[in-house]
C-alpha cells in the first residue's frame, strides 16, 4: 500500500514537473534559428546591437492574439530603435489548424505590414524551450554577458479588449525598467489566451 501511495505521488510530481517546464525568470535563453515569413532565418544573435528582446508567441487565428496585433506592432515601433526589438513566433501547428500555415503567416505579415520577424516553429521546439502555453504569451529578455536572460513572462497588458480603465502596460513597464538598468517590478503576469495547437500524434 505504501509503495502504491509512493508511486502515485511520484507520478503526480512527474505531472506537475511537466507542467512547469520552460524558462523561468533569470534563466538564460538558448538561441534559435527559425524561418521568417521572408524565408530567411532569424536568430537572436543576428541583432548585434540589441540590448534585449521582446519575444511574442502569437498566431494567425486566435481572437486574443488578433486583438493584440496592433499593440505588438506598436511595441516594436517604440522599442526596436531603443534596442529591444519584437521577435514574434507562431507556436501553432498548421496540421492541427490549417489557417496557421506558413503561407497564411506570410499573408498576415504582409497585410498588417509587420515590421518585425514572424517566425515559424516547426515541431514546437522553441515553443517548448520557452514553455509558452498560449497566444499571446510574451517573454522579455535582457542581453547580458552570460547571455539573454528572461526578465519578464506573461501578458502585454491587463486589458485585452481595451476596456479596462485602469490599464497596466506590463511589457512596456518591464522594458522601460530594463533600459534604465532596473529589474522589472512586475516580472510575471497571467492572461487568458488561446491554447497552443500542438501537432497531433
Amino acid at each position: 500500500m505504501k509503495t502504491l501511495i509512493l508511486m502515485a505521488f511520484m507520478l503526480l510530481s512527474a505531472v506537475s514537473f511537466a507542467q512547469t517546464e520552460g524558462y523561468k525568470i533569470g534563466d538564460v535563453v538558448k538561441d534559435f534559428s527559425l524561418k521568417n515569413v521572408n524565408n530567411k532565418t532569424v536568430s537572436l544573435a543576428d541583432y548585434k546591437y540589441a540590448k534585449g528582446y521582446i519575444v511574442v508567441f502569437t498566431c494567425n487565428t486566435c481572437p486574443v492574439a488578433k486583438a493584440y496585433q496592433g499593440r505588438v506592432a506598436a511595441l516594436n515601433a517604440t522599442y526596436a530603435t531603443k534596442g529591444y526589438p519584437v521577435v514574434a513566433i507562431n507556436p501553432n501547428d498548421a496540421g492541427a489548424v490549417p489557417d496557421e500555415s506558413f503561407e497564411k503567416m506570410q499573408a498576415l505579415a504582409s497585410q498588417k505590414k509587420f515590421s518585425f520577424p514572424y517566425l515559424l516553429d516547426p515541431d514546437h521546439v522553441v515553443t517548448k524551450q520557452f514553455g509558452a502555453t498560449r497566444t499571446p504569451h510574451v517573454f522579455v529578455l535582457n542581453k547580458t554577458d552570460k547571455g539573454n536572460v528572461v526578465e519578464y513572462i506573461g501578458a502585454i497588458d491587463n486589458d485585452p479588449e481595451e476596456a479596462n480603465g485602469t490599464k497596466t502596460d506590463y511589457v512596456k513597464n518591464a522594458v522601460n525598467e530594463l533600459s534604465v538598468g532596473k529589474k522589472p517590478v512586475v516580472a510575471s503576469t497571467k492572461a487568458v489566451g488561446c491554447g497552443i495547437k500542438w501537432k497531433k500524434g
Partner: protein
Amino acid sequence: MRIFLIICLSLITYSVNAQVKLLKLDDLDKRIANGKDTTYVINFWATWCSPCVAELPNFEKLRLASLKKPVKVLLVSLDFKSKLLKEVIPFVEKNKINAEVFLLNEPDQQQYIERIDKKWSGAIPATLFVNKKSRRFYEKEFTEAELNSTLLNLK
C-alpha cells in the same frame, strides 16, 4: 391593455437577454454563499477555444444527470464583451445549450484570474467545483466520467 403589452415586451426582452447574462465575480460569490447545500460546477470557456467547445456536451450530460441533485452547472464565457450579441448568443442558440450561460464582465484579467484561483495560469478550459465547504479548481479538459467522479469526491 398597455400593461399587457408591457408585460409581453418585458417577457420577450427577458427571454432574449436571459440566454447569456453578464457576470461579475461579486455576484458569483454571493450566489455560492447563498447556495446552501448546492455544489456549483463552473466551467470557464470561450467560443474561440476549441477544446472548450469540445467538452461542453460533457457539462450538458452532467447537468441532465444532476437535475434532481443540489448541483448547478454554470458556463462562464471569457469571450470579449463586444462579442456577446454577434458570437456568444448565436453559439448558445446554435448548440442548444440549456445550462445557465454567462459572460464574465470583469475588465482586469490579472485580477479575476487570481481571484478565481491562485494556481490558474489563465488557460482554458478550466473548471471550478465549489460549494460552501470546498473549492477545487482544475485547469484541464474533463470527460463525462471525470466530471462525475470529481463531483462525487468533493467533500
